[in-house]
Subunit: 282 residues, 3 copies
């Protein structure tokens, strides 16, 4: 058709090489490499459980990346074996409802910002990525997963809980609806090879450095693509599920709060936590 490349490109900001952005903190490390690609590393030991504090740190880091017009962002983990274990059970056990509301609302914001980000995104999945960990990875545009005995999937059902509609939308945006239904209802955790085959991950990497390299190679495909055209186009593909949640945020929060107040749910959480404590004390 025609080329607006030069005009649009002039509005892009070149970022200085490998410097920590201001939001770099204890829970999320955010750096920018020499090519202007931001690397966001989750580092809440031991398994990057997504509690309110970590979600807030991810949330402000996503703002930071957007503000600095990074050429793209790679999401990864500081843990050697876990990308993220998903939502932190302790945010749901005997909850203070006001905090629980903030917790869920922040999770919604993180998802809307990551799934619908103007900047290009890729996940370097260097370990297990169940439930919320899988959600974060699927919300990126591309995924490299480190080879090993790791698994990835929305296994909420296997744990007796129900993935919110926007989790389901995110999976249906990634793999065929038939595969998504089967994976969601069985709470399936995919091995790395299975994830590759179904399209849940795009490439398999030998280690974390290789996964990050592969993500960079993906993001460099946008080097000659004017960022405004790219981000508006991404928006046209992804705006549907984001708008659906925006319209439905309050109802989605209320559903979560009611779920937490179900005595059976709290009873199960209690049993599960006792079990974890016993394991830990051995």
């Amino acid at each position: 058709m025609f080329v607006l490349r030069q005009a649009l490109r002039s509005s892009r900001v070149v970022l200085p090489a490998t410097r920590p952005m201001s939001s770099s903190g204890p829970l999320v490390d955010l750096t920018v490499d020499g090519d202007g690609i931001a690397i966001m590393t989750l580092q809440r030991p031991p398994v990057n459980s997504l509690n309110l504090d970590l979600l807030k740190a991810i949330n402000s880091s996503l703002d930071e990346v957007a503000k600095n017009k990074a050429k793209g962002m790679i999401l990864t983990s500081a843990s050697p074996t876990v990308f993220s274990a998903g939502l932190d059970i302790m945010e749901m056990y005997k909850p203070d409802l006001k905090r629980a509301e903030e917790f869920w609302s922040t999770l919604q914001e993180v998802w809307m910002k990551l799934f619908g980000s103007t900047f290009a995104t890729a996940a370097a999945i260097n370990g297990h990525a169940p439930a919320g960990g899988c959600l974060l990875a699927m919300s990126c545009e591309w995924r490299a997963m480190v080879s090993g005995k790791y698994t990835i999937g929305l296994n909420e059902t296997a744990l007796g809980i129900v993935a919110p509609t926007w989790f389901v939308d995110t999976m249906c945006n990634t793999i065929p609806v038939r595969e998504a239904e089967f994976a969601l209802t069985t709470g399936r955790l995919f091995t790395v090879d299975e994830a590759l085959k179904v399209g849940l991950v795009d490439e398999v990497a030998t280690d974390k450095a290789d996964a990050i390299d592969k993500c960079k190679t993906f993001l460099k495909r946008f080097e000659r693509i004017p960022s405004l055209a790219r981000s508006l186009t991404k928006n046209r593909v992804r705006s549907g599920p984001v708008l659906r949640l925006q319209k439905n945020r309050q109802a989605d929060i209320q559903e979560f709060l009611q779920f937490l107040q179900n005595p059976k749910v709290q009873q199960s959480l209690d049993m599960y936590i006792q079990m974890l404590k016993k394991k830990a004390s051995k």
Copy 2:
């Protein structure tokens, strides 16, 4: 994330082994095996044509399965060569409009209950499954088809009629939209191998017993999945098409009734029935 398995599981009802449920009748046989899996067998000779009576029997059998909280349901046929030949032409030929309305309304209900069922479903397709037969099979969550010269597909177009929107939705939920459009517009009947390749069936079985075994293996994947979480998750994937028909039921019925009152349609039915009679008298 966390485990609500025990609490939620306690609400499940264990069914007695292999006993006939109360709705077991001449047109549908309904039994429950030792694992609590219901087996619904269509048995309206010779080809399980879906007339009002058979649809009513399926409808009440689906209620029965839901009421008894079966662990899952397998749909199959008593015929050695036909799963179901689809809608019964005699319900449409020179119709009593009140009965025709009940006929179509019952078909809608059967589909909404089967496609959107809370219990897990699988089809053991032991013979031909054209048109409405294919619809029933696709409305289940999983399909095993017996190897042989059988075919399956929504071949309405080849017969000069138009599949309702919810038939189309059901196929698009099963195979890619590109394949669905091609199959629907050409009225394609897939061989067993073609159906397997496109994802219209999930596995090929050697005979009916093997097909049922394979369905059981599928359903047993839900053994450790709390049923409430599973059914709500299934609902999140499938509620769209069901809600669309619920909103549109009356218009959908009127469209069918107008179709029946088209003189050309009745003329074609007449010609077709004469042809069948001649064949039968040879």
Copy 3:
């Protein structure tokens, strides 16, 4: 189910063999072969750039095909190397806004008529098909592409512009959403082999004649399908995106006009045209 074939078929009109239809003109050649299949050949040298005149000619040719109840239509190009280069940049450079509005409105109409046509369609892609060229090809129901160093894709993003929502819908109707997002955001032009693999084209042909033959073979699959049933079924699969544009036509036009009035856009067009002139004068 049952056969309405004869009754419905009687309403089809048999067209005389290989005669030019009345709209055959300098920009579009329209003929009907002995089997009643219309062949629409774009012939605006050198590269079938879609300006207002060519779009109008396509528009009235589509009306002609519909009016004459052709059994199907094959879209191809008179150029030996280009199917269509997409929208004509000169319609956007220093535009008369009234003409620009007519230009975009005509493009919308062409797409709605082609994507939602009652007659069956196939594209014999005998050369490059970027941007608007790819849109025309994808709007058909089936595609054969001539083997060679040709490419096809919605590469708008690579050119700094944004594909309209209905371009995105058309691609998501053809290939999986995951592939579509990746192709759209990277402005990917697929080689013939890549296009075949992802399902963007259905078969590879040795030359234009072979591509047309393959399209005919596809269209002949509808020979025994009553055309009313076929077209209504196609409509049920495709009406969603068409209705979306119908509701949104004025906003879509305004978006285009505002885009044209952006000084940066005009500056880029100017640079691009100067570059083309330099190339041409060498």
